[in-house]
Every structure is written in C-alpha cells, then in structure tokens.
C-alpha cells in the first residue's frame, strides 16, 4: 500500500513550469531517493508535498487522504514531516529545547509516540544537549534537523539535500542515521543532487529532469540509463566511457 | 443635495491627499529599508512647527513650507546615518528604535514648544465661489498642493535616474548593487526624502489644524492604515488608498456619524486585511520565507 501518492502534480511560476504532471507513489516503509540536476524541480516537488506551496494542478494523497489543501502543520500532525536544505534548526535554542519543541505533537499522545523513543540518546546528542544548535558542526545540525522531525512522531520524512556540503565522514554518519530511522519504521524520501550519496542507501530512485520524471527504479539501473547520464553530463558524456 | 455631495467629496480629497502625503514617506522608507518608522508622525509635527515659526516670523507660508521640508530632510539624514543604517531590514529592531525616537522628540517638543495649541495664518483666507458652491480657499490650496507634491514625487520615482535607482532597490537590492547603484548612499537619500514629505505634510496640516506637540499620532495612524491598504511598500497604492480613505471618512462623518470619523479607516483596514490578504492594491506582497 502506498503511503504517499502524488497524482499529476504541476507547478507553474509565471512563465516557468517547475514541475509538470508528476505522478509518484511511495510505499509504506520505503526508503527512496529523488535525484536530478539542479533546477530539475526536486525542491519544488517537496515544497508541494509538505504544504509550503500549493500546486497549480494535481493532488497529493497521504494514507489515501487528500492533503493538497492542508496547511503544513496539519500535514505534520498526520505524520508527514520535512527537513530543509542546509539544516534548518532553531539556532539560538539548545538541542534539548529544540527536541522538546518538536515533541509537542507526541507529548501525552500515545498513538503518536516517536518511533525512536529517546532521540537524544539514539543520536548521541547527550554531550551537546545544552549547546545552542547554531554552534554545532554542520553534520550534527543536519542530524538534529532529522531528530526534530522524528520527535514529532513522523510516519514519513522528506529530507531535502541532507548531505550537501558535508565532509566524507559526516556523510557516512548521516547515512547511518537515515538507515537507523528507516529501520525503526519511518518511510523516508531523500532529495539528493549527488547520486553517489544515495547509491548504497536507497532501494529506489526517482529521477527528475526539467520538472518531469525521466526514470524510476533501482539505483544501479538508474546510473546506467542513458537519459539520466545525459541529464547530468550532457550528450557528449557517453562518448568518453 | 448634489452640492453637498460635491463639497463632501472635495473635502475628502483634500484630507485624503494629506494622508497620502504622510503615507508615501512611510511606505517609501518601509519598501526600501524594511524599517517601519513610527517617528514619521513626529516629523510631521516638527514640520508643522518649523512652518509655524517661519510664518509667525514673517517669512510667509511658502518659505515655511520649503524650510519644513528641508529641515526634516536634514533631520532624516542625520537619523539614518546615526541610527537606522545599523539596523537595515531588521523589522523589529528598526521599529523599536523608532519608538525610542518618538519618546525623545515628542517630550522635548512638549518641553520647548509647550503643549499650547498654535495656529498660523494660512496664505489664502475666506472662501471661493465655484459653480454656485462655497469652498474654503485654503482647503482648495492644500488640495492643489498635495496633488502637486504627490505627482512630483511619483514622477521623480518614475522618470529620474535616482528615482529609478530607488525603485530598483525596492524591488531587488542585490540587483541594484549589481548594476552599480551605491545602495548605502541611496538608502540615506530615501530616508531624507521620506522625511521631507513628512515635513511638507506637517506644514500643510499646520495651515488647517491646531499645532501641538501631540498632533503626530493622528496622521501617523492614517499613514499606517494606508501603508497596509496600499500593499506595504507600494507608493501608488498608498496614494490611491489615501484618497479613498479621505473620501470614505468625509462621507462617513457627513452622513453617518462625525464623532466616529477616525474609526472608519480602522474598520476599512480590518475588512481589507480579511478580504484582501495582499492589501487592496497589493502587487508586492512579499512572501517571507
């Protein structure tokens, strides 16, 4: 059964079509990637799914419920939570305060308990607990973004370029965290620009180019797809194989 | 009946034009600097006093008007350089600082000018008969002057090199810097210009109504209402809204209730915010993400 269904969604800004007729279904318990060259419409699609923008056409279903017109906080209540590019956290608040805030939905609500009960311990935040989030290394800040999303009791996470700008070591850590969250029962959908990051992580990859889905399948198959190679490196690319 | 309507209409246009003169300054400064200057009303008040002192010293209304504008432009320049440039685009910081300036200006004014009501002789006295209707000459003059001022202001923004640089900065500060506009200097000019408009409004207010150290809040309240109605940062929007508000108030107090005059604008404002989330003429509803 699919947890999230996107049906014929389009987004136009003035003369620009950022997303055109995209239909995608993400199954419950899936760990999927969304890739594409810059400007392919990945973030716009996430914005539509998370309620940041209203699509020009099409609809979004979450657990078979039409959520196209819902406010972001209503979607979060239903369990659909996103993170932002470049780690959006509360920079002046400590990790502990940030997580307390995020827990407000699950507080005293048995059905909404986060899949990972003690987020602080699981993510290894204990030693930073009282530091302002803005002072953390960027890798930890990304993890905090994810941890806050989990703490709301999310059933599905949308991660927007979580690995951009991280060091190799931080990327490995982040992959471990995402696997861990997925193993605990959260459906995960990750945007990445960098295919390399997703390779060992996801079971399925959706490729967007110029606002449309051009490929959808296992990561291995995707990297061999000539359309994907062309989207990334241009038509001269395969001449140099 | 017809005559009554025309007279109420003219009165509304006149008062609306005054409001618009106040509002364009607030709107321009907000649009370009992101600062909501609560002390704009105090500039109106000081402008009225400058005009009062010039007229009572015998230099006449026109010099008084010119010097009110000049003095406020200078004061604005000083405030921008000394304070506001350090908190550009910080909405809450700028607003708080301007509240502090209110306390300074208004209390000093009350101490030095005394709270007594002052008046100066308007350049035109008596009435004018037009198509069988009586109009106050000074009110017609004020109407003509605000039309000239607002039009000149509009043409300046539309047609001159500096005006275009200002408009460009309002739409995209980075873009303006990219094409070689010295954004820091232009920002200072904008604040001075907005303050000069407040000085002009003050001189015109003073030619019609009593001048007191506490006269600022009325014009400021109207200016704020228009800033929102016009779509936060749109100068033409604020002007159109100004005339509409003036007319609404005039007709409201003529045919409904005069004691509730100041309430009409407020009700209009609440209704507009509920019905038109981007302002009545809101092209530039800037989404903050």
């Amino acid at each position: 059964m699919s947890l999230l269904r996107i049906e014929d969604v389009s987004m136009r800004f003035g003369g620009l079509t950022a997303v055109r007729d995209v239909s995608v279904a993400i199954p419950k318990g899936g760990l999927c990637g969304l890739i594409g060259p810059n400007g392919a419409g990945k973030t716009t699609l996430f914005n539509i799914v998370s309620g940041f923008q209203r699509p020009s056409g099409g609809r979004i279903l979450f657990e078979d419920r039409d959520i196209t017109a819902l406010e972001p906080h209503r979607r979060a209540e239903l369990g659909l939570v996103r993170t932002f590019q470049g780690a959006r956290v509360f920079p002046r608040l400590t990790i502990r305060e940030g997580l307390q805030i995020a827990r407000h939905l699950s507080d005293g609500n048995a059905t909404r308990r986060p899949v990972i009960d003690d987020v602080m311990a699981e993510f290894g935040f204990a030693k930073y607990a009282d530091e302002p989030a803005g002072s953390l290394p960027s890798g930890v800040m990304r993890e905090l973004g994810i941890a806050m999303a989990i703490s709301t009791g999310a059933r599905m996470l949308l991660l927007d370029e979580p690995a951009a700008g991280l060091s190799a070591e931080e990327v490995t850590n982040l992959q471990r965290v995402i696997r861990h969250v997925h193993a605990a029962g959260v459906t995960v959908w990750v945007i990445e620009h960098n295919l390399n990051f997703l390779m060992g992580l996801v079971e399925r990859c959706i490729v967007l180019d110029a606002g449309a889905v051009i490929a959808d399948g296992e990561p291995r198959a995707i990297t061999g797809d000539p359309r994907v190679i062309e989207a990334y490196l241009g038509d001269d690319a395969h001449a140099f194989g | 009946m017809f005559i009554d309507v025309i007279q109420t209409m003219t009165d509304g246009l006149m008062i609306g034009g005054l409001y618009a003169t106040v509002a364009v300054g607030i709107t321009l400064v907000f649009g370009i600097m992101g600062i909501l200057n609560f002390a704009h009303g105090q500039m109106v008040m000081l402008g009225a006093y400058v005009a009062f002192f010039f007229v009572t010293a015998g230099y006449g209304f026109w010099l008084g008007l010119a010097f009110a504008m000049l003095a406020m432009a200078l004061l604005g320049l000083v405030m921008e350089r000394a304070v506001f440039r350090f908190i550009l685009t910080d909405h809450m910081g700028g607003l708080t600082v301007s509240l502090g300036i209110i306390l300074i200006i208004e209390n000093l004014a009350a101490a030095y000018f005394t709270p007594d009501h002052r008046n100066f002789d308007p350049p035109l006295k008596g009435g004018v008969e037009l198509l069988g209707m009586q109009f106050s000459a000074q009110r017609l003059l004020v109407l003509a002057l605000v039309l000239v001022l607002v039009t000149a202001f509009y043409l300046f923004l539309q047609k001159t090199r500096l005006g275009k640089a200002i408009r460009a900065m309002g739409q995209n500060r980075t873009g303006a810097a990219l094409v070689g506009v010295q954004v820091g200097q232009v920002t200072a000019i904008v604040f001075a210009l907005g303050s000069a408009m407040a000085g002009a409004a003050g001189a015109l207010y003073g030619s019609l109504f009593a001048i007191t150290p506490y006269m600022a809040s009325g014009p400021l309240m109207k200016g704020f209402i228009l800033t929102v109605l016009g779509g936060l940062g749109s100068v033409p929007g604020a002007v159109i809204a100004g005339f509409l508000l003036g007319i609404a108030e005039s007709f409201g107090s003529r045919y409904l209730s005069a004691s509730f005059r100041d309430g009409y604008g407020f009700i209009l404002l609440i209704a507009a915010l509920l019905l038109f989330p981007r302002g009545l003429f809101g092209f530039s509803g800037k989404e903050k993400v």
Binding site: N38, A210 | G180
Partner: protein, 235 residues
Amino acid sequence: MMLMLSVENLSVSYGNVRAVSDLSLRVAPGSVVGLVGANGAGKTSTLNALTGFVGHGATVIFEGQNVSGRSTADLVRLGLVQVAQGRQLFPEMTVLENLEMGGFLWRAAEMRQQVERMYEKFPVLQERRNQAAGTLSGGEQQMLAVARGLMARPKLLLIDEPCLGLAPKMVDRLGELIRQINEDGISILLVEQNTAFVFRLASHAYVLENGQCVLEGTPDELRSNDRVRSAYLGI
C-alpha cells in the same frame, strides 16, 4: 601576457564557517573559464568576493590593476560585472527599464545606443520591451539578465548558474549566446552545476569541492577524470 583577472589564495568565511579556502583563479583575456562544483561548494561565494559583495583576504588583479576592497559600483565601472544567480531582475520594471538600469553608470546617450545593440542581439527583448520583467518566461528572464549585464559594457562577465531552471532547448540557446558574447571580445567566468554545459563552452575549468579547488584543466581532461565521473554519477 597580461591576465584579465587573477586572484591568489582567496578565502571567504561566514563567522567560523569557511565557504572558500585558498582558491587561486586566472582568466586569460578573451577566454571562457568555468567554475564547477555541487551545491555549497563555494562557487557563488567566490563570485560574490570577486565583485565586492563579501570580504575576502586576497589580492584581486583585474587588467593589471589591484582592485581588492573596491566597491561593487567601482568594479562595475571598471568592467567587472556579475550576472548573479537567480537573475536578480527588477520584476515590476519593464524590460527596457531593466536594461536602462544595467547602463546605470553610463551617460544617457551612450546607454541608449547600448540598448539598441542589445535589441539587435536579443530581438525577443525588443518585442517585450514594455512588458514587466517578472512576466517573462524563465528563458527570457535569463536573456534579460545577461543583456542587463552587457549593458554595463563589461570586459569580464561573471555568470552564475544561468541554466538553473531552464528547459534543455533554452540551455542550448543560452550556450550559443554566451559563445557569441565571448566572440565579441568579452571574457567570461562561468559558474555552473551543469557540468556538461560548462565543458561545451570553456577552454579551462576549475572543480570546487567544499570550498577548495580539487582539480583544474581543460574540459577533455576533466571529463575523463575518474573523480569527476564518480562525483556526479557514482560510477
């Protein structure tokens, strides 16, 4: 031979976050040089440092003249002009007004001549001259952004991510246009994530990762480099 632009050990920091470290760049007169790298690699910070938007510790030599620390307006006057990411147009102004703003530092007569030249180069802008820039299509907006940059009569044009959000056909036209501009004698520093686009146009390119230059060379050298292939395709 005098270089158009040279900068040694350029570093940009925001607080204690280093966006660019010790980057050295050279642009020969009349060339197209590329600067590629993923999101957050420090490309835009580099451009912003070169055009005076952010501070940096380096010495920037433009046409043999030390221009470090000059204001953006000064640099534009000297001929170092940036076409920034996201186009940075004035959306409520007409196409013509946008172009006129591009020639802000020129005298009116010269500015008008330059507008005519832009109309020749971009006929579509002439058709749309009285339309608000915000209502143009993405491709047209990018054309306008480039044309506005050209209005300042640059010697070196820094173009940041021009392909962002454009349809493939539009990207091709843009590439052709950049080639033409270069043939008119304007040097170009092209920043792009679209590596293929840069490799088609540039004679030399720098690859940035985490604020550092990890590779440089001709497009052919880079295209066959394993590191580039692995970074972008994971193969």
